[in-house]
């Protein structure tokens, strides 16, 4: 990362994670790079992370935001577990943002359970980076 790239540099730390068995990491990688180019510090977990591994990494890396990328349809089994583990670990201040193939009805339910935001296919990178920045600074 170039110094002085952004006034927000190193203020915002984000964990980008791929939970579940899904190997489709194109979106996660593009988002990780876009967040980095927008001046945030990004930790990418790689594939096949359990909710426990993700929450542990979020704690170790002291991030304000967790971005979860799920394209396999398993989001309703995975995201609520991440939210619950965060609460159990007293990490309610970490915002969870989900991206992937998430039907409207599931997106509404996930937000009700405490997801800060859900992004569906076709969302613009600028919209996503702006949203992540806003939830991170609100914390």
């Amino acid at each position: 990362m170039e110094a002085g790239h952004s006034p927000f540099m190193s203020n915002i730390r984000v964990l980008v994670a791929k939970p579940g068995l899904d190997g489709h990491d194109r979106g996660a990688k593009v988002i990780a790079r876009a967040l980095r180019d927008a001046g945030m510090e990004v930790v990418y977990t790689g594939l096949r992370q359990t909710p426990e591994m993700i929450v542990h990494a979020a704690l170790q890396e002291d991030v304000q935001v967790i971005g979860l990328s799920i394209l396999s349809g398993a989001h309703m089994a995975i995201v609520p577990r991440v939210l619950r583990l965060l609460r159990e670990n007293g990490m309610d201040d970490v915002a969870v943002v989900v991206g992937g193939i998430i039907p409207d009805v599931d997106a509404a339910e996930l937000k009700k359970q405490g997801c800060a935001g859900v992004f569906q296919p076709g969302a613009a990178l600028e919209e996503i980076t702006g949203f992540v920045r806003s939830v991170a600074r609100a914390r």
């Binding site: 068995l21 990688k29 593009v30 790689g46 396999s72 600028e126």
Partner: protein, 521 residues
Amino acid sequence: MLHRTLSGIPLENHYGPDDVRAAEPPPGEFPFTRGIHHTMYRGRLWTMRQFSGFATPEETNRRYRYLLGQGQTGLSVAFDLPTLMGLDADHANALGEVGKCGVSICSLADMETLFDGIPLAQASVSMTINSPAAILWAMYLVVAEKQGAAWEALNGTLQNDILKEYIAQKEFIYPPRPSMRLVTDTIEFAARQTPRYNPVSISGYHIREAGSTAAQELAFTLRDGVEYVEWALARGLAIDEFAPRLSFFFNSHSDFFEEIAKFRAARRIWARLMRDRYGARDERSTRLRFHAQTAGCSLTWQQPNNNVVRTATQALAAVLGGCQSLHTNSLDEAYALPSEQAVTLALRTQQILAHETGAPLVADPLGGSYFLESLTGQLEAQALDYIQRIDGMGGMIAAIERGFPQSEIAQASYRYQQEVERGERLIVGVNAFTHEEPEPIEILQIDRAAEEAQVARLRALRLSRKNDAVESALNQLRKTAEGGGNTMPALLDCVRAYATLGEMCNVLRACFGVWVEQAVL
């Protein structure tokens, strides 16, 4: 508007005789740039093969019978993620994933249900399975055996392309070298026992979906093919014993001419590699046969009806490029697995191309076009350059271990996304011509009942089978895997004893270890 192809090749305003080298030989003649058969689709139309599978084996079996009833001519099995990862449906990491992205198959009993009432002696079945491919193929062979179908007569294709898993699709279990040994076991077994079956479908589709350019898809796929050839030769097979049964699978993306050029270049490169680098004498070894699928990643969540149009033009490119079989994506691709209505429309798209457009009547109808021939040459040159670089690294496994193809794809995918972000590339309904009203479409929902049914069925199987027979078959598999022999006979015996997929993969995990990738951003 960018004057570049989707993959970034600069385009002239128009092309002329100076852009074209010597005329290509006619279709059906080496190096088959113009097609692998002289008569192409006059002789036989491409196989219309919709990739399909969801929920339980019973439900998928019903979908297969429906598709065959609608005039589909081949089957293509989509497995769920636990199956692709070699996990039984009741494994902790399978929670929430069973039957979601495909059908769940845990044992021979499930495979028997999947093909109930479908005679494998006549069917042409493709199975999209990679890391546990040898195991699923053993299940398929035992179902055929039980149906009384001779193995020598079986037609079909096993995807079994582990290299593109490390490069793009990421459904790997074991490290590359033991995985390559398993692939080589199937190639060897097929050469001896199933002469009409394709044991590997060397796949660019997933490489392209992961964000590669057309040239990268071409290069990495063909170089993967070279790697399988090298391993089979090292096993002691002669080139013409197995090369005729190597098959390919490409993406048919949105840039119409670039895709047609890519298919033509693929045939030309492969034919020359097989003849000149490996000394193939049997002409069948030099003919690149391929399945095509339209580009799932090009389909949008916004204005989903537009996807029908995208799929139709992509499918036409595959036909004009001389594919042997084709899957057309459904309009609800960005939402879910296809509904019955959506998959029927996708199949009808192929039938309209086949019977109404006239496109199949002339072999390689665009051959000789100044533009297309020039583009074919450019894609060939770019691909050969990549192949040479990977040869220089010591082959594809070495290139994968250093993250080379992964990183090239990640760069290309990010570059493309930035072009979309800046509005240099317009995607109708996404960053241009948008409107707010949602278009409601019917979506296939997979409920948790499928997972519960699969888990219950699996637990009942474990109680009803002869567990000492299972143990002894698994022990034999362990001994074979630890030694150097071909694992197929031991896997067939495990399958016959109703050992589960997870049990067999666990034996192999213990012998081979598991692969954890170093993520490349």
